[in-house]
Amino acid sequence: MASMDTSTARLAPKAARAPGSLGTGDILRYALASIFVGFCLFPLYMVLSTSLKAEADIFAFPPAWSFRPIWDNFNDALFVFGGTGVMPFLLNSVIVTAASTAAAVGLGAMVAYGLTRFRIRGGSHLFFFILSTRFAPPVAFVVPLYLMVRQTGLMDTHLALILIYTSMNLSLVVWIIRGFFEAIPVEIEEAAEIDGYSRLQIFFKVALPLVKPGLITTAILSAIMSWNEFLIATVMTQNKAATLPVYLGGFSGSMGLEWGPYMAVGAIAVLPIMIFTLVLQKHLVRGLTFGAVR
């Protein structure tokens, strides 16, 4: 709010209400919000509840709200489903997600730092160009990417997905982290310069620790994207390097799908990324307050 110039409008003063008590309007607003939240969370509920249901309960209509949970579906998902179970694909997903996230955040932080702190000819154009790689829908890039991957003999390898995901996430990382670097007062780095540190050391010892919240935010976003990406993974991998979404996708068209184990795989797919996010989020909340500078 800028000017606090206030009107002399003769509106009746609102009756002061004790904090904590709710009016009718509030109740209506909360009700609407709750319905919307329910709408958003319902698919997740479906996945989790179905994965715990016996076949009879799954197809019961109307759906059973209360049922006896069973773990058979998870057993199937882990060891039986699709012939191999989920494990190889889970492992592929972890490898591809971890490597591409680390690469995107690491490289992105360096690019962002360079763009913030060095005067680069055409730096702002470059910055814009970096984001422009995300302007077209990914499907437009599938054919050229496919040809590149095939020519380089990287079909069905982790490396292919790692390289592609890294390049896709990089632009997002650069855009977000640049804002964090810009918030660091330049004097902190000058102080380190006077103290006798080189640019690279300043980057690692001073700048990076200060943008930790940015690193965490972008790591979460990148990981979620890599974890769930389907289109490119399904084109670039067949079996050896196939990730969870590819594995899951393979069943969706088939007849007589076993919904129980299928949903159990879905639940397993949600879990690692959720844990990853929760663990990192703790550090995010703690974040750094820039108490060093007035």
Binding site: A2, S3, M4, T6, S7, T8, P13, K14, A16
Partner: protein
């Protein structure tokens, strides 16, 4: 112009931190009241409660007898000036100043006329077509003041308006603020941490610390009759010299090797510390009764100098005319008239003669 009464107002934040505790302030219609205090003393919270930007936890704020607690800012008829100017960066100076009138749907001709007039008063006519980004700090604050002054609100609230400016600009603008206050006849509530500024612009000064009002009075009263040790220490430049260790014997009290009659008020509360303002100390020969001292650091101030001394009772500062400045290492005695020695009880309250 409004008569503003703050009655037993407290502000406690959601996390339980008290910002303001039991504040009583009566601001006369047309008065210029300065609030002086260290950061975190509650002065900004008080201003924000007056503005309606912050809820009052308990207590009343009466404007011309009306309780305005719970009323939103836009209904309180106030104008505010911020330390960081808070100008609209996307609008030119003219549009910035005109905003309060535009918001009230005044006719275009009237707006042009009033903006032109206030811009003339503030000396910013040639900048009317510029964006705030093109102006210096001093010019921006002039624009911000013009925007506040374009109406005649009941109250002006100013939160460190000169905090970001350089000394010479602060002196120039504080004079203009005072002149504008007199011309507009508004009631002004002004926050600063600069005591010279407070003395220069205000009619009265309220000193606050840890959410409580410490003393309300003119600068002269704060200097000569501080209500407690906090006020004595916070107000006055160079700061008062405080002596922590006193020895009271019968009717006398000693500050180091300096013996003084006990203040008459000390029958109720024993003095725990004493203070003397640097301007009230005089240098006397070593054979005179007083506090023995050795000059440690001479800090010239122009016509005079502040001399920091080591004494048996701790550090003391004395102001000496430049012509009579001692050399560092010189020994002498410091003396002050009894009425210029302030005694404080252990609670910090001032012990005064005639207050038994």
């Amino acid at each position: 112009m409004a008569h503003v009464q703050i009655r037993n107002v407290s502000k406690i934040y959601a996390d339980g931190t008290p910002a303001v505790t039991g504040l009583d302030l009566d601001i006369a219609a047309g008065e210029f009241l300065c609030v002086l205090g260290p950061s975190g003393c509650g002065k900004s919270s008080t201003l924000r409660m007056l503005a309606g930007l912050e809820e009052v936890s308990t207590g009343q704020i009466l404007v011309d007898g009306d309780d305005v607690v719970g009323r939103p800012a836009r209904e309180r008829d106030i104008a505010m000036v911020f330390e960081n100017y808070a100008l609209y960066p996307h609008l030119d100076v003219f549009a910035n100043i005109a905003m309060p009138l535009v918001a009230r749907r005044r006719p275009k001709a009237e707006i042009r006329d009033r903006v032109g007039r206030i811009a003339g008063t503030m000396g910013i006519t040639e900048h009317l077509a510029k964006r705030p980004g093109k102006l210096s700090g001093g010019q921006r604050q002039r624009v911000s003041l013009a925007r506040a002054m374009i109406r005649r609100p009941k109250m002006f609230l100013m939160d460190e308006p000169l905090g970001h400016l350089e000394e010479y600009m602060r002196i120039e603008l504080r004079r203009e603020i005072r002149a504008l206050h007199e011309a507009a006849g508004g009631t002004t509530f002004y926050i600063t941490h600069d005591q010279e500024e407070a003395a220069a612009v205000s009619d009265r000064i309220a000193v606050m610390s840890s959410g409580e009002l410490q003393q309300l009075g003119t600068m002269k009263e704060l200097i000569e009759r501080p209500a407690n040790r906090f006020v004595a220490e916070f107000v006055g430049e160079p700061p008062i010299s405080i002596f922590e260790e006193l020895r009271a014997t019968g009717t006398e009290v000693s500050i180091g090797d300096w013996r003084l009659p006990l203040p008459p008020g000390s029958r109720k509360a024993r003095p725990a510390s004493a203070g003397v303002r640097p301007a009230h100390f005089r240098i006397a020969g070593s054979d005179m009764p007083g506090l023995s001292a050795e000059a440690r650091l001479v800090q010239p101030m122009g016509e005079s100098a502040a001399v920091l001394c080591d004494t048996p009772a701790g550090d003391a500062t004395v102001i000496v005319p430049m012509a009579a400045v001692p050399r560092e290492g010189d020994r002498f005695r410091l003396v002050a008239a009894p009425e210029h020695v302030h005694f404080f009880a252990a609670s910090g309250r001032a012990i005064r003669s005639g207050e038994d």
